[in-house]
Symmetry: none
Subunit: 210 residues, 4 copies
Amino acid sequence: MLVSAKRVSEHGGRTFTEEARRAQIVRAAIDTVAEHGYPNTSFSKIAQRAGLSSTGMISYYFAGKAELFDEVVATVLRAAEEFVGPRIQHAQTYRAKLRAYIESNLDFMAKYPGHTLALAEIIIGTRDRDNVPVGAINQATASIDALVDCLDKGLAAGEFADVEPRVMAVAIRGAIDNTLRHHMLTPGVDLESYGSKLADIFDRATRSAS
Amino acid sequence: MLVSAKRVSEHGGRTFTEEARRAQIVRAAIDTVAEHGYPNTSFSKIAQRAGLSSTGMISYYFAGKAELFDEVVATVLRAAEEFVGPRIQHAQTYRAKLRAYIESNLDFMAKYPGHTLALAEIIIGTRDRDNVPVGAINQATASIDALVDCLDKGLAAGEFADVEPRVMAVAIRGAIDNTLRHHMLTPGVDLESYGSKLADIFDRATRSAS
Amino acid sequence: MLVSAKRVSEHGGRTFTEEARRAQIVRAAIDTVAEHGYPNTSFSKIAQRAGLSSTGMISYYFAGKAELFDEVVATVLRAAEEFVGPRIQHAQTYRAKLRAYIESNLDFMAKYPGHTLALAEIIIGTRDRDNVPVGAINQATASIDALVDCLDKGLAAGEFADVEPRVMAVAIRGAIDNTLRHHMLTPGVDLESYGSKLADIFDRATRSAS
Amino acid sequence: MLVSAKRVSEHGGRTFTEEARRAQIVRAAIDTVAEHGYPNTSFSKIAQRAGLSSTGMISYYFAGKAELFDEVVATVLRAAEEFVGPRIQHAQTYRAKLRAYIESNLDFMAKYPGHTLALAEIIIGTRDRDNVPVGAINQATASIDALVDCLDKGLAAGEFADVEPRVMAVAIRGAIDNTLRHHMLTPGVDLESYGSKLADIFDRATRSAS
DNA sequence: GATGAATGAGTGTTCATTCAT
DNA sequence: AATGAATGAACACTCATTCAT
């Protein structure tokens, strides 16, 4: 049997050009959601931004609306993880890891505000056919679980005091996301300086009340 | 000229039945958004839930989609304010007011989870024709501003240490909202117990690092 | 048998107040058509302009859309006839009557531009259920017939030369109506001065070519 | 890159089939307006007549109602110009040109009564959002201006006497259009014979009163 | 593999009319 | 006699998806 001339990437047996097209569409989808909001995002707006002549192309490359936005979410999360992950791992103490988590998240937002905004819109707006916001479960819990894990270990190591890890993790994640939202509405805000201040808040919150 | 037999309420010269219908539609809209998500909410879904024969009825009572959802937002915010306001005013110190703010917000969410969920979806999903999420600005800043004011006064009174009021306010609001979101996804969570724990977190965060 | 307390006018057994309401609605309809055009004229626009609280009132006083606009047409034609008729009758020769017809028509238009505009829009736009513009037939032929009659008699009296009455009548009527239309689009035009010039044209056209 | 297999016409980068569909829809629109009148013309009536499965197809090929009817007007005017133009240019004197204008206009109407009728309805019925019948301005003034120009030149050449060009032009145009209207209502009329008689009228009207 | 064309259900909104009171 | 409320069909238009080529 001959090997196919078209090289196939590791992603579900797709060719390189196929993968490139998908990436192009995903990028256009991110930008469109960021600009128009998820409810106002349609295939035709995405196709237009991607420079495609018809919406049929999108359906050709993605099985449906759900698959496209799943890929969008995955893409943004992957980018965020690549940006944030190393900085957390590089930190020595759990307290330092917590600070790195908060600050690097805000740095990522500052660098890719559209990505983060689109992510939030899609996660909140997407539901499966049982009306359960299924994408949200995966993503939100994944992000939260990582934080919980960090807090758990820090507690065990005696670095944090008086912390209920899950409550704290949910609060931190919400604080980070809301900071972006606040930033989008009041453009004067400097996200980077917010990072260290936000980190300060939760640094203090994880100390004993003394 | 005799006084009209139809009694007119204080709301913009509308009759009682008119006001009742509007309230009925607003209620149905809240429930529909909470269940299906804002992007999947249509007039026909709302009409169906409200037991109306056609979507035309909704257009008959509301000038447009925007007016309906403006009223939804206003209704939920009014309810929240009535619930939360007195508890904050009743607290004596600013530190106590902060705790009351957090706890009563979570209590409100526990009591009317659909209201709060719908509110968040609409605020995030609604944009004006310049793609600016205009409802969000009004509401979000209003809620944030109230918190900032409380923190400012507490700082002046020497009750809080090391606080940058706006950063802190944004964080608190985000933590509260995300707690609801987390609660919706993982139904086991007890919102009321979360309230005091969340209050603890920000109580500690507003103390001096010692 | 007792006489009804409500006085009844000669118009199909309607009371005075009824007739007043109808007149009020007809007036509002004329203005609305003149301003928005016949295709954009709806009962709600008319009701609004007439100061009525609901469109139901219009349906209450008029059996349907057709009856309302029939009355509008009749009203405008009656007004025009009252304005134009005496001036024609007062003229001594048929040539003078023709001039009087043209000039007084343009004077009427100058005085009630909305009426004439609305009339034209409705006549052109209205069809019965067989798609025949039925109102138009009645009105247009009535107006044309009067002109034809005048030209016929003038011909018999030897005042006009080389005239095919119907062709001429249609041309005159069209010239008059188009002058109004032209006036509406280019507001600088002085309708009154146009009247004598238009009369000159057809005065010459009815002379022998010699 | 290879040249696309789909051939593209010169009209705004549209393909042949696209252009064909548009023409088909425009044709159906003309017929529908001629039969039902402009106010009673809807996308669904047009789609039905064009043999299309849904009104969505029309929106697919035309950006909106306005674009469709703009194209209808342009199509009819183009056809009329192609029909009328050469006959006017072929005439040697301005007096002959005037006769050619009137007669060829009526010949066109006799050949395409639906086109002309539809044109008149759309022009009269269409307004922009300031209630200005904008299409009318362009078309009516264009047609009038051509006539005015002819009369001006004829005056300068000493062919016409005692003529106020604009008044005369408006009268001629109105006479022509009204003749069509009259013809539609009373089908016995022979438009072609009307043409020479109408030309006679304005031929006489442009001679000196002697 | 790629695409332009087509589909049909769905969107919010307006319409003239009816009806119970 | 008069009216506010309600109706349901129709409106122009957009949607994600399918399909023949």
